[in-house]
Symmetry: C4
Subunit: 264 residues, 4 copies
C-alpha cells in the first residue's frame, strides 16, 4: 500500500517553472505567502498529495456548512502573463508529516513529482522565530546547498551569514536537500518573526515582497493583513489538533475550542 | 507481510446495501447503535478484519469461561425483509488503530472491501461530546463531503451548521473520505453526548432513532438502556487497556480492574 | 528487508511435538519454566529468531569475559525418551517486541515456522500478578480459544473462570490466537504471582509442576530456586534496559547498574 | 521506497581493509577518533549513507555562510603508504537512527556494503561513561562475539572482563553483531569517560593511541585537544536537536541556542 500518493487532475505545460513551497510551519509564513500568491494570481490547482503520515483526521468546516475534507497538500500552477513573469508551481497545504520518516517520504514524493516539469529553481518558505518582538522591517533569512545560489540571493538582500539558525526541521529543509540531490537549484527563505504570533502579517509581507520582486510580479499587497487574519482561523484549528495528536493516540476528535467537545 | 487483513466467511448477494460503521469512539455511540442493530435485526456475520495496528493483546472473557479472542472488526449483513427496507452491511468492532498510519490503512481496506458490494451510501457513526450535561432530547450532528448529501440529511433533521466541531479523528472521518474518493456517497452522524458517560444510552437512542427512521426499520427500542449497559462492561475493559498501552510499551497484561493484576 | 527472521541450524524430525513458549513477561515465569525444562531435559537448540522490533542493543556478558551477543528468541527441541513422554519444541528468549506491530509480526513468524512440525498443542506460559503477597500454593490460570481445550485443562486443575484477567498483552496471547487461526490447539497458562518479585520461584514451580505432570516428565525440581535466582541476574539487566529504551530514544548504552555508566 | 540508501562516488581497490566505525555516541569518542584519523591521514570520501530514520532536518552552517546540508554517514578510505600500514575504511557521521528499527536497518546496510571489500576486521568505537571524574590515564574497554578476538585484544591491553558494562545501544553494538553474522571478525572498543563532558579529549586520545599502535600508523597526536574542541561545536548543535526531536513531533526548527529561535 502506497503511504503517500499524488493525484493529478491535469498536466499543465509549463516552461521551467519556479517551484514555491508553503506548507505549515512556525509563524505560518510560508503557508500565508503561498496562499496570498495563489489567491491574487488566481493560480489553478492541478494535483493533490495525500499521506498516511498526516494526522488521521477529517477536517470540518463547521462554522459554514459542515463540509468535511481530507488533510492534503495542493499543487497550483500559474502561467506567465507577460515576458517579465515566469511560470510557477505553488505547493500549499494543511499539514506536514506527524512522524520523522514521513517528512523524508513526502519530500521525496514532492520532488519526484515536480522534477518532470524541469523547474528552474525550488524555493521553500518558512519562518525563523527570534524570540524578540520587534517593530522594524523584518529580515528574510536564507539557506542553500550551493555557494552559487547563496551568492545570487545574498546580492538580492537575503541574509545567509551569522543568522544563528542551526537546523531546519521538516519539509522546508528536506525538499531543498532532495531537490539538490536531483540537481535542481534550490533555496530556503525564512521570514524573521517573534515566534509569539500564531500568524505574523509583517513577516509574511517581508517574504512576499522579496518573492514578488524576484519574480517580477505586480501584486496588490494591501490585503495581506486581512488574508493572514483569515488563514489564522484555519491555522488555529490545525495547530490545536497537532498538539493534541502528539500527546495522545486513542481515537477521539475535537471541536475548534479545545475544551468544548470530542467526537468519536 | 500484510498488516491489515480481511477474512471472508461468506459472500452475500446484496442489492446496493447501506453501509453502517460503528467502531469504538467517544461515548461508544456508534458501537452501541451498530450492536443494537445487529442484535435486533439478527444480522449475519460474513467477514472479519484483523490488523497489526490494533493493540497487541488477546481479550479474555474471564467472568464467564476464560475464553480468549482476538481484537477484530466484524462485518455483518442484513437482507431487506420487505420493499420498505434495504439491504445493509454493518461494521462493528473492539478496537481502532493504535497509531496514525493504521487509521488510514484500515479505512482504506474497509472501503476497498465493501465497494465491491456497490453500497448506496456509507454512514459512519460517532459521538460529539459537548462537555455539558443535558436532559433534553439530544441532537444528531452531521458531516459530509458533498453539498448534495448535506442537503438531504439536513432536511431529515441532522445538524450540519454551527456545530463547533473542528475535526473527526480516526475511522469515522477517514472512512467517509475514503468512500468519497471512490465516488461512494457518504455521511458521518454524531450523537450529542456530555462526554462524561463512558456509554450514553440517550445519545445512542437519538442516533438509532434517526437510523431506523431513515431505513424504514421497525425495531423494538425498549431494550436500549439494558443493551448499552451490557456493552459497557466490554467497553470499560478496552478503554482501560487503550490508556495503558499508550502510556507504556513493555510487554505485560492487565485484569479488568486496573490495579488488580498483570499477566505476561 | 525482512524485519523478523528465523535462522535454522538443523531440522529435527519430531512427532507432533508439544510447543512451549517461555518469553520474558511479568514475573518471568514463562521464561524460567522454559529455561528449567531446557536445562534439565538437555534440549537441543535448532533455530534462532532475530527481529528489528527487539531493543536495538548488543548484550554484554561483562561479569565473565566481555562476550557480546544479540538479543534473540531460541528454539530448542527434545525427543521423547520413552513411550510416556512426548516430543517437544521450546521457545525461550531475551526479549519481546518493543512496539505493538512487532508483537503481531513475531507471533506470526513463530507459528509459521513451528506449524510445519505439526504440533499437537501450543502452550504459552506467563504470569498473572494479583498484587497480593501470599504464601499458600499458587494457582495456575488458563485461557484458550476453544471450549474443548478449556474443558480438558479445567479437569487437570487449571483455573479458567472468575480469574479477573482482562487481557494478555504480547506474545503469550498473540501466539495462541495465531495458532488457532492455523487450526492448532492451544492454551495459555499463567502462574499466580504477587507481581512484586522480579522473578518468582513459587509461581515458577506451580507452572512447572503442572507442565511436567501433563507431559509425564520425570524432572528433578530441587534446583528451581537456585536456577530462578541465576536467571534473575540476566533478567534484571534486560528489565532495566527495557525501561530505559521506552523512555528515551537517543543512542546511548548502559551498564548493569542504571546509574553507573553509559556507552555509545 | 528504500528508507536507507548508500550512494557510491567511487569504488576504491582495497586489500582486506580494517573497517572503523565512529558514529555519534556518548562522549562522541568514536566520532572524534574517526574524525582525527580522516583529517591526519587525509582519507578520501567514497560513499555516503542517507536514511529516513535520521532526524528529519537540514543542518545549517550558519556561523559561516548559511550552507545547508543533509544529515549523513560518510565512508572514507585510506590506502596503506608502506608495508607496515594497512588499507582502511572509516565510517563517520552526524547522526544515528531516531528509532529502534532504524538502528537495525542501518547496521545491516553498512555491513552489506562494506563486506564486498572483504574487511580483515570491523572495529566499532564508542565511549563508556563511568560517572566518575578521573585524571589518570583512561582505560579502553572492549566487547566482542568471538573468544579468539577477545584474547587478541586483551593481550594488547583492552579490558574485557569486570567492566560492569551491560549493553551497547545503537550502531556500535549492532554493527559488530551484523559483521559476525557475516563471518567477519569484529570488536567494539570503548573509551572510559566521566560522561560529564560533551566531548572528552582524554578518552579520545586513549582510543586513538590504541588504534594507531594497532595499525602501525605514525600520527601527530598534538592537535587532538584542538580538533576535539572544534568538533564540539557541531556536536552541541546535533545534541540539542536530538533532545528536541524526541520530545516533540510537530514540524518546527531551531537555532544553535535552544532558546533563541525556531524556523518552519
Amino acid at each position: 500500500m502506497k503511504t503517500t500518493e499524488i493525484t493529478i487532475f491535469k498536466r499543465p505545460e509549463l516552461k521551467n517553472p519556479i517551484f514555491i513551497e508553503g506548507l505549515p510551519g512556525v509563524g505560518y509564513i510560508g503557508r500565508n505567502v503561498a496562499g496570498y500568491l495563489i489567491d491574487t494570481l488566481k493560480a489553478e490547482k492541478f494535483a493533490e498529495l495525500h499521506s498516511f503520515h498526516f494526522p488521521p483526521v477529517a477536517m470540518l468546516d463547521s462554522e459554514k456548512n459542515g463540509k468535511m475534507s481530507a488533510l492534503k497538500n495542493e499543487f497550483y500552477f500559474y502561467r506567465a502573463k507577460n515576458r517579465d513573469e515566469q511560470d510557477m508551481i505553488i505547493l500549499i497545504g494543511d499539514a506536514q508529516s506527524m512522524d520523522p520518516i514521513g517528512h523524508y517520504e513526502i519530500s521525496r514524493e514532492v520532488i519526484n513529482f515536480i522534477k518532470e516539469f524541469r523547474p528552474k529553481i525550488v524555493m521553500t518558505l518558512g519562518g525563523f522565530a527570534t524570540g524578540k518582538l520587534d517593530n522594524k522591517k523584518q529580515t528574510v533569512f536564507g539557506a542553500a546547498v550551493k555557494d552559487k545560489i547563496i551568492k545570487i540571493f545574498e546580492k538580492k538582500g537575503i541574509k545567509f551569514k551569522d543568522t544563528n539558525i542551526g537546523q531546519i526541521i521538516g519539509a522546508s529543509g528536506l525538499i531543498v536537500l532532495e531537490a539538490e540531490k536531483n540537481n535542481i537549484d534550490s533555496v530556503c527563505l525564512m521570514g524573521e518573526t517573534s515566534g509569539m504570533l500564531l500568524s505574523d502579517p509583517k513577516a509574511t509581507e517581508s517574504v512576499l515582497e522579496f518573492i514578488t520582486k524576484y519574480l517580477n510580479l505586480k501584486i496588490d499587497m494591501s490585503k495581506i493583513e486581512e488574508k493572514v487574519k483569515e488563514t489564522g482561523d484555519v491555522i488555529k484549528k490545525i495547530e490545536s489538533l497537532q498538539k493534541k495528536l502528539t500527546t495522545q493516540s486513542t481515537p477521539e476528535s475535537s471541536s475548534d475550542d479545545e475544551h468544548l467537545g470530542y467526537i468519536g
